[in-house]
């Protein structure tokens, strides 16, 4: 995660905040929540395509952290990776329950279209926006195992070690899945840009 503090004052680590939180310090809990909630929410949103699911998942992640037997062990990875791991399990549970493998519902009332980067050239903006939308659709069309690694490492910029903790796999697996996912995305985007070329790759064997 790249959410850096704005001041130069020494900032408490996640683990220090967790310790204070567990001793009943509400401010530490809220600081930890505010530091980590956005990334977790976006991860759940990218994975599920649903704002209510993302909201539920974010809340459940921190409720799990409130439990005494939350299962976090600092020697097994960072708290951030641990929280993403919980979020991932909850999202997959939602997906399995409701089969929510759908495109992000940007037309729903509770979804505020994110503001894209400011660009001076409207034509370039339009082109860029279309490209971004195409990429977002392509990410959501990925199989889950590739989608989750792209969302974690490429969109949320979680480092490989934390991603490995979250996904429960070795770092090498993270790398290989990421490589494969990027290849799939490039192929998908290339097909969207060149539909005729993509169709040309199909070789009919027999007409029926």
């Amino acid at each position: 995660m790249n959410e850096r503090p704005m001041t130069s004052a020494p900032v408490e680590t996640d683990d220090e905040l967790l310790l204070r939180m567990q001793s009943g310090d509400e401010e530490a809990f809220l600081t930890l929540y505010r530091r980590r909630q956005a990334g977790l929410f976006r991860f759940a949103l990218h994975m599920s395509g649903s704002m209510p699911v993302a909201e539920d998942v974010t809340q459940e992640v921190f409720l799990a952290l409130l439990r005494e037997d939350c299962g976090y062990a600092p020697d097994r990875g960072t708290l951030s990776g641990y929280l993403f791991g919980i979020a991932r399990k909850l999202v997959l549970r939602h997906l399995d329950r409701g089969r929510l493998d759908v495109v992000l519902d940007t037309d729903s009332d509770d979804f505020a279209q994110p503001e894209l980067a400011v660009l001076d050239d409207p034509l370039l903006d339009l082109t860029r926006r279309e490209g971004i939308d195409a990429l977002r659709r392509a990410v959501q069309a990925l199989p889950r195992r590739y989608r989750e690694v792209v969302v974690l490492c490429d969109l949320e910029e979680v480092d490989y070690a934390d991603a490995a903790v979250a996904l429960g796999c070795p770092i090498g697996t993270v790398r290989s899945r990421l490589h494969r996912a990027r290849g799939l995305l490039l192929e998908k985007l290339h097909q969207e840009r060149n539909p005729r070329q993509a169709l040309g790759t199909l070789k009919p064997v027999r007409c029926v």
């Binding site: 909630q37 809340q59 921190f62 990429l135 290339h190």
Partner: protein, 199 residues
């Protein structure tokens, strides 16, 4: 380094900037260019979602949950006394009930049985012997009582008048069913020694 080795050794997109292979291989250079475009696209998507975060109501709910939890934790030490207090109260109630029952039963147990027709009294032996009719076994009984210290009891009873007939007194036959009060002189061994009719 061939193409396969090149792609196997790049852990991240930025690490290949200085790679000599890209200068030598146009195919890999084109592929790398597409990867850089993809990386730029990821950054753009991430930037578009940068302000997306959980609604404030989530924080409010979690704050409430945290306060409930910490509140319950602060009450936890007092909860440890709940079983102790409960058992103490139970024992106190049992003790009070037992004391109440014992107190109520003791006088009842000590209370003499109610006898409608009999009054038991200690008799001064020499004082009230007048009017008594010695029963047939009174001589033997008197000898036994003398050995025991001559301690006698007087018991007042109601008996049918027919009992007077048995002792040789004159009683009308039509009144033999009536009850009449009598004192019976009992020896210390509980055997009757004499009787006195009060009517």
């Amino acid at each position: 380094m061939n193409c396969q080795e090149f792609w196997n050794t790049i852990p991240e997109l930025g690490d290949c900037e200085s790679s000599r292979h890209l200068l030598e291989c146009p195919a890999c250079a084109a592929r790398m260019s597409r990867h850089r475009e993809l990386e730029a696209g990821f950054r753009a998507v991430a930037a578009g979602f940068r302000r997306v975060e959980a609604p404030p109501r989530v924080e409010a709910r979690l704050r409430s949950a945290f306060r409930r939890q910490t509140g319950s934790e602060s009450r936890a030490p007092s909860r440890r006394w709940i079983p102790v207090v409960t058992w103490a109260a139970a024992f106190a109630a049992m003790f009070a009930l037992a004391a109440f029952l014992v107190r109520d039963r003791q006088p009842e147990a000590a209370r003499p049985p109610v006898q409608r027709t009999i009054e038991l009294a200690m008799l001064q032996p020499q004082a009230d012997y007048d009017g008594f009719i010695p029963l047939p076994n009174s001589a033997g009984v008197a000898a036994d009582d003398a050995a025991d210290g001559d301690d006698v009891n007087l018991v007042r009873v109601e008996v049918p008048r027919s009992a007077m007939i048995a002792l040789g007194l004159d009683v009308s036959a039509d009144r033999e069913e009536e009850l009449v009060e009598a004192d019976i002189l009992l020896g210390s061994n509980g055997i009757a020694r004499a009787v006195r009719f009060l009517d």
